[in-house]
């Protein structure tokens, strides 16, 4: 009976998948799975996988999509067949849709590897439906407070999800992720080498984070990203796992080095380095050779709209996408912008948070980040824009020591206004730190601006 119900739900899902191609406005990445899940509870549980199919789940606060993309490319470059989910479709509906798309009418998923990006809240649900061979955790940090509240909520869910017989690949440089390996038999770790000698001089308001085991302060020997780096706990001795696969960035050659081999890369920022490090740990676990790894890195393409360079008149606008309420992404954007030592204008459009109802004006996560890095003298103007939180962002800059005369506030989310404002300055390089939805409105404004210029 269950089999018949499953086949019916699958058939309906496949029909809807076909219809989404001709019906505008209906998402083909979530609707088929959404309907199938309604027709049958625990729908993904009834798919059949080959005896040798390896199932991998990627989860964590940030870096899931990039890591999943890298793993998928690695497996393709290795000559294996793969089933993987669409960008962002990482909850129950999206994953069910992925399985519908990649299965036969009988519900058999034909792939050597199934690599699924899974939202961290949904991981305990997914692992009950599909038993993974490998779970890779990027990091567990402050993220989407309105939805998650605190990292501890997510840790509780992850601990429930990893209570099984699977291999864990964990970030050795992030205390929450690293602590998930306690008392587990099959774990590998990864990290990125840092330099404790170049750490910024600490000031009175610098803070760290709490230990997931004993609650005491975590001390970072070096911090590559927000709350990610080589660490130890003052209280219980929790520390970065020494056996981790560590890669070292080689900025001069746009490469990284792992176990003595150099790998050329396109993206050298530290958040990408952690994705590469997790890739190396995964490749090591699966027994994939270095030539295949290099080929996959060459062929990997980043999702558009995360880091983009756009021209607007004589200005080059470097768009850096952040995820609101998630300090690690804002800090990464600050790190990328400040790595460029040329004279620049920095535009901060943190905006209101509208992901869920009620929408609200939270921008407190900016206080978790280190804005002091901007103070190297190369920023000639800060522009704070957004309809509601622009003055809060200006306050944030002022409290970090930015002179008010260097701050301009424009209370709007209209990029036409921003482009007009930018015309007032001779500086050609602009860094725009903003959230996902603004990318297309920014592009539209630039297109309009360029036409006007012509």
């Amino acid at each position: 009976m269950k089999r018949i119900q499953f086949l019916f739900a699958l058939l309906v899902g496949k029909i809807i998948m076909g219809l989404t191609k001709i019906i505008p406005g209906v998402s083909g990445t979530t609707w088929p799975g959404g309907i199938a899940n309604i027709l049958m509870k625990r729908f993904p549980k009834y798919f059949k996988f080959g005896d040798n199919t390896r199932i991998v789940m990627v989860t964590g606060t940030s870096g899931k999509t990039t890591t999943t993309g890298m793993l998928a490319q690695l497996i393709k470059s290795w000559g294996k067949t793969i089933c993987t989910n669409d960008i962002g479709a990482n909850m129950d509906r999206g994953i069910a849709t992925t399985l519908i798309r990649n299965s036969t009418m009988g519900g058999r998923v034909k792939a050597d590897y199934v690599v699924l990006e899974v939202d961290e809240r949904y991981l305990p649900i997914m692992t009950k439906l599909i038993a993974p061979h490998v779970i890779l955790v990027t990091n567990v940090l402050k993220d989407q407070s309105q939805r998650n509240g605190e990292p501890g909520v997510i840790m509780t869910k992850l601990k429930a999800a990893i209570d099984g017989d699977m291999h864990l690949i964990l970030n050795a440089h992030e205390p929450n992720s690293g602590s998930l390996g306690f008392n587990k038999d099959s774990v590998s770790y990864y990290g990125v080498a840092g330099d404790s000698t170049v750490a910024m001089e600490s000031i009175a308001t610098d803070v760290s984070c709490s230990c997931p085991v004993c609650g005491d302060s975590i001390h970072f020997e070096y911090e590559n990203l927000f709350n990610i780096g080589k660490y130890s706990c003052k209280g219980c001795g929790l520390k970065s796992e020494e056996s981790a696969t560590i890669i070292a960035a080689d900025a001069e050659n746009t490469a990284f080095i792992c176990d003595g081999t150099s790998y050329k890369v396109k993206y050298i920022s530290k958040d990408f380095m952690y994705c590469y490090a997790s890739l190396m740990a995964f490749a090591k676990h699966e027994g994939i050779d270095s030539l295949t790894i290099q080929k996959s890195i060459n062929d990997f393409k980043i999702q558009s709209g995360r880091v983009e360079q756009m021209k607007a008149g004589d200005k080059t606008i470097n768009y850096l996408r952040i995820k609101q309420e998630t300090p690690v992404t804002l800090q990464s954007a600050i790190d990328v912008a400040t790595a460029d030592k040329s004279e620049k204008i920095v535009v901060l459009d943190l905006s209101e948070i509208v992901d869920f109802s009620p929408k609200y004006t939270g921008m407190y996560y900016a206080y978790d980040c280190n804005f002091r890095k901007f103070m190297d003298g190369s920023v000639v103007k800060y522009i704070c824009m957004s309809k509601t939180v622009c003055y809060d962002v200006a306050t944030r800059l002022y409290l970090e020591g930015v002179d008010k005369k260097d701050i301009t506030v424009i209370p709007t989310d209209d990029y036409d206004v921003l482009l007009a404002e930018l015309e007032k300055y001779d500086t050609k390089t602009v860094y725009l730190l903003t959230w996902m939805h603004s990318y297309y409105s920014c592009l539209a404004s630039i297109e309009k601006y360029q036409k006007k210029e012509v």
Binding site: S145, R147, G149, P151, S357, T361, Y364, Y367, Y391, D392
Partner: protein
């Protein structure tokens, strides 16, 4: 004029950018002609209660409440004595669980707090609107305190029930302690609020009033006039925009608004 601030567990009680309160407080004090001397108190450290004018405790994770209570219990008698003698404490968010009597976690387990404040907390498990997920309620908050309007954000993980203490303010919009119209708690000079933002960078007038009270308790008179505070205009403009934004949400079901 000198003000000694003990910043308790800054690495742990720092969930929602709480260090911004310390950054803002320093500037507010400076604008009022007060020299703020800030001492970080980490696990194992002791507060010099005789020479402390304000204890600041930011918001922390619920998972850390047990650890924080355990560490603070080493000076439980001292802090109770400090509070009874009129010492000032500013506590944010779920730190009320540490200062309160009891936290009840979903499932029924309880964690005893220090009992400085006669309040109890219950982990949020919302099944009725408004909510995003059952464990947390995040939104803007607007409340009245004395003759001031306080605006900020709230990321609520517990419902607070007040015992023999007064609410700190009246909610004009938002969740407050438990959707019942009360915001925070005050007992003697212990002030608990659910407002993040951070509170003092968004509402420097609240900080000025607090510092004025503290200085007055020390026998020193200071003005709450913040004309020398350079970010005051930003805070005022931010409050106007936030109020406008909040008013657009009045039609949402289940939310308290009296404005």
């Amino acid at each position: 004029m000198m003000l000694n601030i003990a910043w308790v567990y800054p690495d742990i009680l720092n969930l929602h950018g709480d260090r911004g309160n310390i950054m803002a407080l320093s500037k507010i004090a400076e604008a009022m002609g007060i020299e703020a001397n800030i001492t970080k108190i980490n696990y194992g450290d002791t507060i010099d209660f005789d020479n402390t004018d304000l204890i600041f405790m930011g918001a922390g994770q619920l998972r850390d409440v047990t650890h924080v209570v355990k560490n603070m219990s080493a000076w439980e008698d001292n802090i109770k004595d400090y509070v009874e003698k009129g010492g000032y404490v500013l506590a944010i968010g779920s730190t009320g669980c540490v200062l309160g009597k009891k936290l009840t976690i979903e499932g029924g387990d309880t964690v005893d707090g220090l009992g400085v404040l006669d309040i109890t907390a219950k982990e949020l498990c919302r099944t009725k609107m408004p909510y995003v997920t059952k464990e947390v309620y995040g939104d803007d908050i607007w409340w009245n305190y004395k003759d001031m309007e306080i605006l900020g954000n709230q990321i609520q993980r517990v419902d607070y029930t007040l015992g023999d203490v007064k609410p700190l303010g009246e909610v004009m919009y938002g969740y407050g302690n438990n959707l019942g119209g009360q915001e925070g708690a005050r007992y003697n000079n212990v002030l608990l609020t659910n407002t993040v933002g951070p509170l003092l960078s968004s509402n420097p007038w609240f900080g000025a009033d607090l510092l004025s009270e503290i200085m007055e308790s020390k026998g020193e008179k200071v003005s709450t006039d913040l004309e020398k505070l350079e970010f005051l205009d930003y805070a005022k403009e931010a409050a106007v925009l936030r109020k406008k934004f909040i008013k657009e949400k009045f039609k949402l079901p289940g939310i308290i608004h009296k404005a």
